[in-house]
């Protein structure tokens, strides 16, 4: 483990608005005895531009990502959607060995822990009622879990990491993987539908007794938190990295 070089990618909105999530991710990876670096010239994965339809304009952004991370064995990020974007949509770059390497080895935090480090018990004590919001890009894009549409055996890497936490109660939702409605620029191009979807998610968690909503994507949580605060609801959002980092390792 010590010999593996891990590059930490912190999504733009976490860098700007939720640095605590980045700090938790870094601390957790260090606790797991990993050699983690944070390249200072990193900016963004380019998804906001690409989702607006400007993927050609985003190519320099993509190249900056590759430049910053090509020297690492793995790139780890507390964001399912950014990782999905790198693995799926960087196909428009010329597929050099460097590009292929980065795309193949960029992981979201939870899947990195379960699949690469092969750990499912982080010795967490978390006596709370927690609802897991299964962010779409992580769930259906990275296959972090089985989506409800698919007829197959159930699994969820996020739930796996939380199950063994002391005192935790993972609540069951009415709609276990309905989209929260953030969708990047969708949240501002279609504000009414976006808010209605986010509100429905929050209400589902509240109705089923959750005190805390967690997810792999701070973007979803930022959107739901914005609704929670506007409507003064009594429920909190906590990114999965912060829960996993509250361990006794």
């Amino acid at each position: 483990m010590h010999s593996l070089k891990i590059g930490l990618f912190i999504p733009c909105y976490i860098d700007q608005f939720y640095p605590g999530v980045g700090i938790a991710t870094l601390e957790l990876l260090q606790k797991l005895k990993l050699n983690v670096s944070y390249p200072l010239k990193q900016t963004c994965c380019g998804q906001p531009l690409a989702n607006t339809g400007a993927e050609k304009e985003a190519i320099p952004v993509y190249r900056n990502f590759i430049r910053n991370f090509s020297r690492f064995d793995y790139v780890v990020s507390p964001s399912g959607s950014c990782v999905y974007h790198v693995r799926e949509h960087y196909d428009i770059l010329e597929q050099t060995d460097e590009v292929k390497k980065v795309r193949k080895n960029t992981f979201e935090l939870c899947e990195f822990i379960t699949d690469i480090l092969k750990i499912d018990d982080l010795k967490i004590h978390y006596p709370h009622k927690v609802g897991v919001h299964q962010s779409c890009h992580g769930l259906r894009g990275l296959k972090l879990g089985k989506s409800s549409e698919i007829i197959a055996e159930r699994y969820s890497k996020v739930h796996k990491l939380l199950e063994k936490a002391g005192g935790i109660e993972l609540i069951k939702l009415h709609r276990e993987d309905e989209c929260c409605g953030f969708g990047g620029t969708f949240s501002v191009f279609e504000p009414d539908v976006s808010v209605r979807m986010g509100l429905a998610r929050v209400e589902d968690h509240q109705l089923n007794g959750a005190e805390i909503i967690t997810a792999t994507d701070m973007s979803c949580l930022m959107h739901m938190e914005g609704i929670i605060r506007r409507q003064k609801k009594n429920i909190k959002v906590v990114h999965i990295a912060e829960i996993l980092n509250s361990n006794s390792l």
């Binding site: 912190i10 733009c12 909105y13 976490i14 860098d15 700007q16 608005f17 640095p19 980045g22 700090i23 870094l26 944070y38 200072l40 900016t43 531009l49 690409a50 989702n51 607006t52 339809g53 400007a54 050609k56 304009e57 320099p60 952004v61 190249r63 900056n64 949509h89 779409c136 890009h137 259906r140 989506s147 549409e149 698919i150 007829i151 709609r175 993987d177 309905e178 989209c179 409605g181 969708g183 990047g184 620029t185 969708f186 949240s187 501002v188 191009f189 279609e190 504000p191 009414d192 539908v193 976006s194 808010v195 979807m197 509100l199 959107h223 938190e225 914005g226 609704i227 605060r229 506007r230």
Partner: protein, 455 residues
């Protein structure tokens, strides 16, 4: 706001109605889940259906010719329509040649797409839509808001009022049984007096020349067997190779559409009735062109089940009319721009790209991925007002270079922290419609890292 967003906002303004729409369609999605669970090989079935359609699309010419050959041998008349206008003219000719006056029609999204009804009505030919849902919206002069459940946007009280006006049912009566019985009697009279019946085609089988139509009500059959002349309108992509393939599709269609194991009637029309005529109109209307486009060709695999609509949280909460196209929802967001990219350029943005549609699609169309590709095309070719294109280029430059990115982030945070609430949450702030902006931290992660870690 763009057209879809505006109409969605209007739809959502009626909270009770939009919640009901969302809940009702979610229940249809759940019904689909329940029956899918009863088929252990469900995912293999989807894969098979997808592969059959891939083979069909790479062999359309041969399969269509094979179909034509068998149909002709069975005494069926086969016509070919290049576009919507030609489909309409062919149907008109058949009507005139057979001196038909009264025409009944069962569900056909193709004829909706081609505007057959308004075309015939302008020429004084009465066309009665015989699916209960279609008849309801025909009475109201409205388009369908869902391809399988066209009247899903209406409450029974509204239908009761409509039937009181059109069918003389009791005023205030809204019991679905009562209303359906009234429609049954009214439409029976239409069936028995019709001269010509038009239907859509769920599947056309190349191996035998058979036309397969699936209904729950039996209206396609009532029309087809009572009228001397039957006309089946099909898109070129509805062809499937063999009878054995029907096994796959009939196991998938109803389960995806309504959550039933099979529709009440799965009718196979091979030969005209004694003394009758049977016609099939094979229609292109832009499909062969889409076939040539590798990014969007898979949308031709669609079997029009509607499952993508039922699962789409955006569709459920914005209603079919916000798409303004004969086929709404996720698949509609690909088909509509293809038909008219200027008019429907907002539709690929009416999606959060959650991917649920792709996961339910029985023929594994990568719907959300095609929506993503369409966004690139629309933004790429659009005649954006100058400043929007410049601001995109500027944003790209900022995101590509560390220093500019850090500076702009810092500026934004400062502004959010220090500007008054009134300025930040002004009406143009779309995020602020219903949400608070995130709280501004003391420093960014990068700033923290530089201070605490980097030595």
């Amino acid at each position: 706001m763009n057209a879809h967003a505006q109409m969605a906002a209007n739809f959502l303004a009626n909270r009770e109605r939009s919640d009901w729409h969302d809940q009702t369609l979610w229940m249809v999605r759940q019904k689909r889940d329940r029956v899918a669970l009863s088929v252990p090989e469900w995912e293999q079935l989807r894969e098979q259906a997808s592969k059959i359609k891939d083979n069909v699309l790479s062999n359309l010419e041969n399969y269509l010719l094979q179909f034509e050959q068998h149909a002709l041998a069975n005494g069926v008349k086969v016509h070919w329509a290049v576009d919507a206008d030609e489909l309409n003219r062919i149907v008109l000719k058949i009507i005139n040649d057979s001196k038909a006056v009264r025409v009944v029609k069962s569900k056909s999204m193709l004829t909706e797409e081609c505007g057959l009804n308004p075309f015939l009505e302008k020429l004084g030919i009465e066309v009665v839509d015989t699916d209960l849902g279609e008849r309801i919206i025909q009475f109201r002069n409205e388009p369908p808001s869902h391809i399988v459940l066209p009247a899903i946007h209406l409450k029974k009280e509204e239908i009761g009022e409509l039937f009181h006006e059109k069918l003389n049912t009791e005023k205030g009566a809204s019991d679905p049984h009562y209303l359906t019985a009234a429609a049954r009697a009214h439409l029976r009279e239409k069936f028995l007096s019709a001269d010509l019946a038009i239907t859509g085609v769920n599947f056309a089988v190349a191996e035998t020349g058979a036309v397969v139509v699936c209904t729950n009500e039996g209206n396609a059959d009532m029309g087809v067997h009572a009228a001397p002349v039957q006309v089946h309108c099909m898109g070129i992509e509805k062809i499937i190779p063999s009878t054995a393939d029907l096994g796959v599709f009939t196991r998938l269609l109803a389960r995806n559409a309504t959550g039933q194991h099979i529709t009440t009637y799965t009718s196979h029309y091979l030969k005209p009735k004694e003394g009758g005529e049977m016609h099939v109109v094979i229609t292109d209307n832009g499909r062969s062109e889409r076939l040539g486009n590798v990014k969007y060709r898979d949308s031709l695999k669609c079997i029009r089940c509607g499952a993508c609509m039922n699962t789409c949280p955006v569709y459920r909460r914005s209603g079919g009319y916000s798409y303004r196209y004969v086929i709404p929802g996720p698949i509609g967001s690909i088909l509509a721009p293809y038909a008219d990219i200027k008019k429907y350029k907002d539709l690929p943005f009416a999606s959060s790209l959650c991917g649920s549609c792709t996961d339910v699609c029985p023929v594994k169309i990568d719907i959300h991925q095609q929506i993503y590709y369409l966004r690139q095309e629309i933004t790429g070719r659009s005649k954006f007002p100058g400043f929007k294109k410049i601001s995109l280029k500027l944003a790209a430059k900022i995101f590509a270079a560390g220093r500019w990115y850090d500076l702009s982030g810092k500026t934004a945070r400062w502004a959010m922290k220090h500007l008054s609430r009134k300025i930040i949450y002004h009406p143009l702030n779309a995020w602020g419609r219903g949400r608070e902006l995130p709280e501004v931290p003391e420093r960014s992660f990068k700033e923290w890292y530089k201070k605490n870690i980097k030595s």
